[in-house]
């Protein structure tokens, strides 16, 4: 076999209280798409960050084309030919799209920045990904998905030997993903080595030749994708044997909604955000909002939680007509909401896991009814155990948790308030396969055992089909169908969406 493009040997990385990587080996060849797999907190992003100089490594060596390298900053790594899209999109929201793509390597003309070329080339680059937007607008005008595409465009334009994509597809839809894959294959043909991280097994099996599995910061092994069946991969990731993994997929029966209506929305809407939507939510029901990105699912949820005010239609909860002015109004009605963008509207990064978990409870209790420390500790510990959040201690800063574990903290925050209605907007985004099923099961069991109503929003059709007893299908910011019982299937939803076009 030819010399490896990248060789990482005995990589070790410690954070205070956690050994994020111990003695990990990783090899990447030119022209190979190689996946890093592992549960949330396994150390995938850390391996990437050690490679690109975001964190200094505590031990081990890295060889690029047989030469030892030691990049100290991401810029160093880029100069070595390693181009990276990090898990957390790190672009500047107040710069234009074009500026974001060319920052640090602006083409110049007579010593001046050549804006015309920048804008033109940025537009061309994005067109390759089939993104057609105004590149002279600032980044904050665009959704997370588009921002992710922009970050990708920036990374693939750099002249590189290695391209690293850390969960680039977590907020992309199928089409966008397909475009990304097309580009990845082109780059592969040009001889780039690509590291691709994702929790979507379908995508892994579609595009990767090799898989390296990590567990708890340790190397489990490196495999050829073709020789590693899915179940075996999962078994290696979670460290259980095959039979146990097979059981994992054994799904609980769906909940049986009661006749009692918890929330009844008639023709609710908000100017520019949502057109009249009817939703009825029963106690003990898991109801799904299905539809494509931007179809109005999140907007509906935000109206139900008082993030935005409803200015059309009427809303009643437990039979009482109400007007929700702010989230607190909704919380008083025992509604909880895990937002889709966890970094922007979910976590308070510089606070501890404990503080993040009790935050909503405390907000509800009010500023004067301070929850005693011992009680906070108990609540936090219970949640950490229940959701199996991977932390070094409850006082760890949330921003230092792995992406998936941050998501769990937000879910814990709302479970702690013991809501009657829990709205989960993309709760499984960036969550590993095992935990994904756990969260789906949790939604069902909350509805079954506590009679809680759950709104489940997800772009993954099969998890909606598995968990929901009713699906509200949306398109172009309006409701186009409501499916129940045996109508609930991926096909059914697709048809409803297509039908809504007419």
């Amino acid at each position: 076999m030819a010399q490896a493009l990248l060789e990482m040997r005995h990589i070790t990385k410690e954070f205070p209280g956690v050994r994020a990587l111990s003695n990990v080996d990783f090899t990447l060849h030119a022209g190979e798409i190689h996946s890093l797999m592992g549960e949330n907190g396994a150390g995938k992003s850390t391996l990437v960050k050690v490679l690109t100089g975001v964190y200094p490594r505590d031990g081990g060596t890295v060889f690029l084309n047989g030469k030892a390298i030691n990049p100290k900053t991401p810029k160093d790594a880029q100069d070595c030919g390693i181009s990276t899209v990090y898990q957390e999109v790190n672009l500047c929201s107040n710069l234009t799209v074009a500026e974001n793509i060319f920052i640090g390597r602006e083409p110049r003309k007579f010593g001046m920045i050549d804006w015309q070329t920048i804008n033109q080339r940025a537009a061309e680059l994005l067109a390759k990904l089939d993104v057609h937007i105004d590149v002279t607008k600032t980044l904050d005008n665009y959704s997370v998905a588009l921002q992710q595409m922009i970050a990708i465009a920036r990374a693939v334009d750099v002249d590189a030997k290695i391209l690293i994509l850390d969960e680039p597809t977590s907020s992309l839809n199928e089409e966008e993903t397909a475009h990304l894959f097309k580009i990845m294959r082109q780059l592969q043909k040009q001889g780039l080595g690509i590291i691709f991280i994702s929790h979507f097994l379908d995508q892994i099996y579609e595009i990767c030749d090799h898989i390296t599995v990590l567990r708890n910061g340790e190397l489990v092994g490196a495999y050829e994708t073709a020789k590693l069946p899915r179940l075996e991969l999962i078994a290696k990731m979670v460290g259980k044997d095959l039979n146990e993994v097979k059981d994992m997929d054994n799904f609980a029966e769906k909940s049986v909604p009661s006749d009692e209506v918890f929330l009844d929305a008639k023709g609710i809407g908000a100017v520019g955000k949502l057109n009249e939507v009817d939703v009825q939510i029963h106690k003990g029901e898991v109801i799904g909002f299905a539809g494509l990105l931007g179809s109005g699912r999140t907007e509906t949820a935000e109206l139900l939680f008082g993030i935005n005010e409803i200015n059309k239609g009427s809303l009643s909860i437990n039979g009482k007509k109400l007007h929700l002015k702010n989230p607190m109004n909704a919380m008083e009605q025992k509604i909880g909401f895990c937002p889709e963008d966890r970094k922007l509207s979910g976590i308070i990064g510089d606070l501890s896991v404990r503080e993040n978990i009790i935050l909503a409870m405390q907000a509800k209790d009010g500023i004067l009814r301070h929850i005693p420390y011992e009680e906070q500790v108990k609540i936090a510990d219970d949640c950490i155990k229940l959701l199996r959040i991977k932390v070094s201690s409850r006082e760890q800063l949330v921003k230092n948790l792995s992406g998936g574990n941050q998501q769990k903290v937000i879910i814990a925050r709302w479970l702690a308030t013991q809501p009657d209605l829990l709205i989960l907007d993309e709760p499984t985004r960036g969550i590993d396969v095992g935990t994904k099923t756990e969260i789906q099961k949790m939604a069902i069991s909350l509805a079954k055992q506590k009679g809680m109503a759950v709104v489940f929003i997800s772009s993954e059709m099969d998890e909606m089909v598995r968990t929901c007893t009713k699906l509200v299908v949306m398109r172009d910011r309006r409701k186009v169908a409501e499916l129940t019982g045996s109508d609930i299937s991926s096909d059914g939803v697709m048809k409803a969406i297509a039908g809504g076009a007419a």
């Binding site: 989230p327 922007l344 606070l351 503080e355 909503a360 405390q362 907000a363 500023i367 301070h370």
Partner: protein, 357 residues
Amino acid sequence: MDMLKKFSGSSLFLPVVALSVLLIFNTLFVDGFLTIQMTEDGHLYGRLVDILNRSCSLIILALGMTFVIATSGIDISVGAVVAISAAVVCTLIGGRGDGVAEMPMSVAMLAAVGVGVLCGMWNGLLVAKFKIQAVVATLILMTAGRGVAQLMTEGQIITVYYKPFEYIAGFLPNMPLPTNIFIALAMVLLVAVLMKKTSIGLFVQSVGINPTAARYAGINVTMVIFLVYAFSGLCAGVSGLIESSLIRAADANNAGLNMEMDAILAVALGGTLLSGGKFYVGGSVIGAITIQTLTTTMYALGVSADQLPVVKAAAVIIICLIQSKKAQEMFDKWKASRHSQQKNDNKAVFGKAVKQL
């Protein structure tokens, strides 16, 4: 050793070290710095008492400023609000030569503090409700405030001859320490109790770190921001009482002049980042005392008032450097390289470390 390690990691470490360095310097170079004597009527006096006495109004301002900065805001109007508060209390008591108050002093004091709160609420309204940038919003009152104070005093310096007015920044009969030390202590205790018994700390930090997420968690972000500015106004109002009592007069042009800068500096010295989030009330208090000590030291060493800002600027640079992440990283590296030297007496390692430096 273990305790020392724990302390050196704590947030109060740097502020305490800075203050200690200053105090040691003073002890060595300023004659009689540590002497405290008692007068016949039972008052304590000496340089240390003097420093404490003079830092009171700054401590109080810094308390309010800490919360404002923690929400990632800033209040540059506090100096002007001090002037307004001073003007209110002095005009209400009046400058009658026969030493009679036109209004009961308690009423005048309450009114002054009340006006301070109103000023703070105005700032809060602009920042929280109308989302004007904090610097700009409080700049309005910073520039207009002294004009308002001028109007109240009709452009005059009102001197108060009413005897009890002195007591605020001076000694009550038979008390060993000046009254304002007790006022500052009460304010610090009030804040300590608020921090301990309410969730204000958690809410303020959440708003400072990520206001969007705080809102999604049910926190009334607008209200929290409004309240911190109102509280800052209250603090400025109280400071105004002390500042005017010190000179027994309301001087609209000079009362509280540049105090906003000292208050911000005190907060920064105390370890609270100006970008908001985590804040340290204890640090701010020590920071305020440090600044006053610095000022007193400079005067004691014969540095003139016009040169003082230069010295302060130098101090700020040093402190900011110490607190900067980059400098800390460099320090850590230096420590680490020293550590490895000690471990193995390998000359090659030594050479490398030197080269790296």
